[in-house]
Structures are given as structure tokens and as C-alpha cells.
């Protein structure tokens, strides 16, 4: 191809730096959104691997009743760190910080985000927060053992290093706010000519909704965690029941952020699936407006349901009723998305490439995670299931089974664009099959044993739960095997210089497929003018009709 030949002569963003430095300095001081995205990708994946190892150890401890490999205190610290790292360092920044940074400007036809230096600063905050969380493990006193929710009064009383963990979460929250602020302003100000709001790709819509939650909800957790720190330093009494403070108030403030944060995690993954499905079904997405508005609706309703985490703490019945009702409401926009994805696949000419397979796993696991979410949103059922491993299974189906697989889908979908090379598709398919089987083997038994009464976060358990725990632990081994194959395949693909990826390997029609792989430093020589919608496959559909 002529364009291809011309493209290879041009320097891509790996070869051309935004500053005068070469080597490591050209990365650490870069203001290029693509390089910052890559920085996020590698730092985030490092944290992910650490947290996966913690999860693996937790599961190994639970393989049999009684002590297996660690002391109860270590177990408490491990599940705390597993939670903090996975949530604040992997899933929340996951799609927005890595793929949002890399793709958002390209997908809206811009040369960079609007505040490039602020963008780099956000990454430094992310790293600072991550390092503080990791360093707190090695300080005297040991890492926090409170669980990632830092519930008072225990988080005020424990002698472990709660303050470093709180500081880390605070700094990471700040990083998240600045990324959100950057994205909202970029989407408002930097769309290419012709890209009206309803010509934006759906991933951008979901990033937009996410960014609003990041901005509006994160300050609440900031102030709440700061208050816990102040409580530990000075004993002002705001959350300390001994001085008149109210621990339930802490839980409210915590979940006012942390429930919307769940949507910070899931919304970009939903946007991701909305990108992938039309490309691999070769069909214009079904119900574009509904998907776009459902993102906003989820962001809105998701901000009003926080107290469904607290049905057993003793609220007024009216409050419980209202929060339960609103919780059901969130399922409507979520279901709209699922129906639209499935309708898009219907009668499409589907090519089952790795990104689509991960996206299908997302839909399957999200359906399970979503439905069980409705179950525990029912007040009566919630009393039975609160604080059991049923809850653990539910949120892992949503967080890992959906968002995690969404991130894997994004990695496989945009990999050729980011690195300009191709991974081995066959191995990627195998890795997909193994991770999906492993994931379900790991978490499905938790639904059953939780229903039968296995409490969450327990170090020991009754012998009757042994079989379920055993199956679950074996599932964790299968899952990790799948992850190792997946990462090995991707890393090998990165270093594979032979399999050069073309500009548009999947046949996508959004703007990122109209720039070279990897993109040049400035993305576009000329800012493109957008005339069609983001998933305009009319040429495919027409071509199909003609052959008939």
C-alpha cells in the first residue's frame, strides 16, 4: 500500500520526543499524551501483578481450613493491600488513564489533551501514591490491616500504618481528579471540526461520564480520608465514638465516593465494549443515543445509591427503601447497554478475534455480576448475604470479570495501534479461554458458599465449606496461568519486529484507525474534519447486499 510505505518513513511517537532529552528523560519529562499513556500502562500493570500475587496468596491460605501458609495478621494485611492496590492503582486508573490518555485525543481528532503538563503531573501523583502504599508495607508497624474501606473506629485504633495507606489513597484521588478535569475540558474544547457530541465514539462518552464522577465524587473521599488521618494524629473526635463521633457517618461519606467509584471503574469498560462490538460485527452500533445517554444516566443514578452498602448498620427504614429502589433503577441503563450490544451482534458478520472474545466474556460476566447485584439490592436478601463471600463474588464479577476483562479487551484491541506490531492471535485466543474458565472457577463457588453462610474476610472456616474453597483456589491457578500466557504473548508481540501491524488491522472506522501505527508525535498532520458518525459501516452493509 502506498500510504503504508509513506508512513514507515515517518517517525512515530516512540522515536520522536516532545523535549530535548533522549532515553529515560524523554519519557519521564514527556508531555505527549501517548507516552504518558504508555507510562501509565507499565506502572499500572506492575501494580496489578503485585496485587494478583497477593490475591493468589490469600486464595492459597484458604485452600484448607486452619493455618496453611500465613498468620491471621498477615492475611488481614494482604487482603487490605490487595484491595487498595487493585482498586486505587489498577481498576480506577485502568482504562481512563492508560487508554483514555492514549486514545482520547486521537479519537476526537486532537493533537494532545488540553493540559499536557497537568497530565504528566497526574502520572507523578499516581506513582507517588503507589510508592507510598508499597513502602508502607515495609515500615515498622506493618501495612494497614483495616480492609480497603478503612472503617472507623478500627482504623483509628489499629497500630498498623494506616496513615501512609490513607495518604496514598488521597494522593491517588487527586491524580484521578486531575485526569478527569483534563478529559472533560479536552472533550469540550478540542473535538475536531464536525465532531458534534453525537458523532463522538462511545468510549469518549463513557470517559466523559466517568470524568464527571471523578470530579464530583473523589473530593468526598479525599476529605473523609483526611479526617481519619487527623483523627489519628490529633483525636478531634469527628469519627471517634469515644468522643461523640459517629462511625456510621464515616461509612456514609466513604460510600458517597466509593459507590460512584464503582462506576468510574465499569463505565469506561462499557465504552470499550461499545467500541469493539461494532468493529468485529461490521455493523453500525445499535442504539447509539441510548448507549451514550445510559452512560450519563448511570453516572447520575450511581451517585444516589451509596447507602445500599450499609443496609445492616441500622438506618431508617425509609432510607433503606429509597436506596434499595434507586439501586434497581441503575440496572435500567446498564441493561440498555447489554441489549444494544447483543442487538449489534445480531446478523453482523462477526470475526471472532481476541478483542471480541474478551468483550463477550465481559458481557457474560457482567450479566452475572449485574444480576447478583440486584439480588443483594433487595433489602430482605441483603440481610442474609451482607458480609458473606457472595458479596465478594458479586463485586469480583463486576470489577474483574467485567472491568478487568474490559481492560484486557482494550489491550488486545489497541495493541497494534500503540506498539505498531502484532501479537500471536492464536495464543491470545487460548489465553482468553483459560482466563475465562479460570475466572469463573475462581469466583462462582463463592456465590454458593456465601449463600450457605461463608463470611467474607475470614481467615478460617468450617469444614463444610472446604470443597468450595478448594475449587475456588484451583480456579485461581487456572486464572493466573491464563494471565501469564496473555502477558507473555503481549510482551512477545511488543518485541516482535517482524509482524508489523497495518494502520487498520481490525477494520475500525473511528479516527484512531486513520493515523499510522504507532501514531506520529502530533497524531495528525492536519486536524481531520468529521462528516460521518463513529460506527458508519454502511459501506460494509451495502457491499453485503450487493453480493446477494
Amino acid at each position: 500500500m502506498n500510504t503504508q510505505a509513506k508512513v514507515t518513513e515517518e517517525k512515530n511517537f516512540f522515536q520522536q520526543s516532545t523535549n530535548k532529552y533522549t532515553g529515560i528523560g524523554s519519557w519521564l519529562l514527556t508531555v505527549d499524551h501517548k507516552r504518558i499513556g504508555i507510562l501509565y500502562l507499565f506502572s499500572m500493570m506492575t501494580f496489578f501483578i503485585v496485587a494478583v500475587i497477593f490475591g493468589f496468596l490469600i486464595r492459597l491460605e484458604l485452600i484448607a481450613p486452619g493455618k496453611t501458609i500465613m498468620e491471621p495478621q498477615t492475611y488481614n494485611q494482604l487482603f487490605t493491600l490487595h484491595g487498595i492496590i487493585m482498586i486505587f492503582l489498577f481498576i480506577i486508573p485502568g482504562l481512563p488513564a492508560v487508554f483514555g490518555n492514549f486514545m482520547l485525543p486521537i479519537m476526537i481528532g486532537a493533537k494532545d489533551v488540553i493540559f499536557p503538563r497537568l497530565n504528566l503531573f497526574s502520572w507523578y501523583l499516581f506513582i507517588a501514591g503507589g510508592l507510598i502504599a508499597v513502602v508502607s508495607m515495609f515500615l515498622p508497624g506493618g501495612s494497614a490491616d483495616t480492609g480497603w474501606m478503612f472503617y472507623v473506629p478500627y482504623s483509628i485504633r489499629t497500630t498498623t500504618n494506616v496513615i501512609p495507606a490513607l495518604t496514598a489513597a488521597f494522593i491517588l484521588g487527586f491524580s484521578s481528579i486531575l485526569t478527569g478535569l483534563n478529559f472533560i475540558t479536552t472533550i469540550h474544547r478540542m473535538r475536531a471540526p464536525g465532531m458534534s457530541w453525537f458523532k463522538m465514539p462511545l468510549f469518549i462518552w463513557s470517559l466523559y461520564a466517568t470524568a464527571w464522577i471523578q470530579i464530583l465524587a473523589t473530593p468526598i473521599i479525599g476529605i473523609t480520608l483526611l479526617l481519619v488521618s487527623i483523627e489519628r494524629w490529633f483525636g478531634v473526635g469527628i469519627f471517634d465514638p469515644a468522643l461523640g463521633g459517629d462511625p456510621i457517618l464515616y461509612q456514609h461519606l466513604f460510600w458517597i465516593y466509593s459507590h460512584p467509584a464503582v462506576y468510574i471503574m465499569i463505565l469506561p469498560a462499557m465504552g470499550m465494549v461499545s467500541e469493539i462490538i461494532p468493529v468485529f460485527a461490521r455493523r453500525t452500533i445499535f442504539g447509539y443515543n441510548f448507549i451514550a445517554f445510559s452512560s450519563i444516566a448511570i453516572a447520575f443514578f450511581g451517585s444516589l445509591v451509596w447507602a445500599h452498602h450499609m443496609f445492616t448498620v441500622g438506618m431508617s427504614d425509609t432510607a433503606m427503601f429509597v436506596f434499595s429502589f434507586l439501586t434497581f433503577f441503575v440496572s435500567i441503563p446498564s441493561a440498555i447497554k447489554v441489549f444494544n450490544w447483543v442487538s449489534t451482534l445480531y446478523k453482523g458478520s462477526i470475526s471472532a478475534d481476541p478483542p471480541l472474545l474478551y468483550a463477550l466474556s465481559f458481557i457474560f460476566q457482567f450479566a452475572i455480576g449485574g444480576f447478583t447485584g440486584l439480588m443483594i439490592g433487595v433489602l430482605s436478601v441483603n440481610i442474609h448475604l451482607q458480609d458473606t463471600s457472595f458479596i465478594v463474588a458479586h463485586f469480583h464479577y463486576v470489577m474483574f470479570g467485567s472491568t478487568g476483562f474490559g481492560i484486557f479487551a482494550a489491550m488486545h484491541y489497541w495493541f497494534p495501534k500503540m506498539f505498531g506490531t502484532m501479537y500471536n492471535k492464536k495464543i491470545a485466543n487460548w489465553a482468553w479461554a483459560i482466563t475465562t474458565i479460570g475466572f469463573n472457577t475462581l469466583y462462582f463457588p463463592m456465590f454458593i458458599m456465601g449463600y450457605l453462610g461463608m463470611p467474607r474476610r475470614y481467615y478460617d472456616y468450617l469444614p463444610e465449606f472446604h470443597t468450595y474453597h478448594l475449587v475456588s483456589t484451583i480456579g485461581s491457578w487456572i486464572l493466573i496461568l491464563g494471565l501469564i500466557i496473555m502477558f507473555a504473548n503481549l510482551i512477545k508481540g511488543m518485541r516482535n519486529k517482524k509482524d508489523v501491524a497495518p494502520m487498520n488491522p481490525w477494520g475500525g472506522v473511528t479516527l484512531e484507525w486513520k493515523v499510522p501505527s504507532p501514531p506520529p508525535m502530533e497524531n495528525f498532520h492536519e486536524i481531520p474534519t468529521v462528516t460521518t458518525g463513529p460506527y458508519d459501516y454502511s459501506h460494509y452493509e451495502l457491499a453485503g447486499k450487493e453480493t446477494k
Binding site: 524523554s26 474544547r189 478540542m190 468526598i220 479526617l227 478531634v236 469527628i238 468522643l243 461523640g244 461519606l253
Partner: protein, 203 residues
Amino acid sequence: MSSVTHQIHRDDYGSRMGMWLFLFTELILFGGMFIVYAVYRFIHQQDFHLAAQELNTTIGLLNTIILLTSSMTMAMSITAIQKGNKKLAIALVIITILFAFGFMVNKYFEWSAKIHHGIYPGSPDLLSKPEGQILYFGLYYVMTGLHALHVIIGVTILVFNVVYLWTGHTNSNYFVKLENAGLYWHLVDLIWIFLFPLFYLIH
């Protein structure tokens, strides 16, 4: 390598928009504190009423006047640079900074008087009071302390803006940084306008 300089996109409207979004987050940060205040005031009305009488309304009023006036000088400095009067703009920002110092000095005397009387978090005097009063003073120190921290951040930003004005980086064609600093300073002012009645005036 550096032959192609990365194009920095200038968009003053966008910069102001980013600043407004940031101010939202600041408002919500304090919003969390105001919720806590509202809840505890509702539970401990009597204690809040009694504790509030210990605060010195005169110093509070003086600080309110100082901050309001400083907001005015801040706004005036932006108008001055828009009209191209560099010296006046610099002088007005410096006056704003001096007002901020005045505020902090008052705050220092106010807090040290409280601490001198044995009212500070964890002090035996305070712990002997009823729970509502412990919470009132806990909130008083946390909220005014957090506000004072914002005053210090605001002063730092203003000092940078004096330098920008001095070097001509901020001028009659490009003054969005000074405008954004002004927005931040008005936020600091605004939060105090809510803190003042909540702690000093409502008895």
C-alpha cells in the same frame, strides 16, 4: 530531536473551564465538611450553641472584612492588567498578599488564645466538656485549619503571579493565569463567608 517542538495549544476559555472544574472539586471537598458540621449541629444543638459563644466574633468579623477587601483588590488587579497597567496590577496583587498575611496573623492570635485557654484537640480541658462541644471545637480547628491551608496555597499562587506580571509573561493580551488565580482567591473568600456565620454568628 527537538527540531519539532510540541505545539502548546493556547485556549484561555479552556483554561478557565479547567479552573472552574477544579473549584467544583474544592467546593465538594469543603462540602463533605459542611455535611459533617450539619449532622453534628443537628444532634448537639445546645452544645454547639454554648461552644460558639467562646469564639471571638470581633476577630472573625475583622478577618471577613480583610478577605472581602482582598477579593476586591484581586479583581482590580485583573482589570488593571487588562488595561495594560502593569505597575498597578503588581501593586494590587501585592496588597492582596498583604491582606492574606493580615488574615493569617489574626488567625494565629485567635488560635493561640484558644490553645492558651486549654481548648485544643485532645486537651484535658476540652475532653472534660460535653461531647457536642468536643465536636464543635474539633470541627472548628479542622475547618478553619483547612481553610487557612487554602489561604497559604492561594498566597503561593499569587506570589507566582507577581513574578509572571513582573517578567511580562502575564500581560494585557495573556492574563488567564492571573484570572485563574483570582478565581481561586475568590473561592477561598467564599468558603470563609460560610465558615464565619456557621462558627461565629449562629448562637
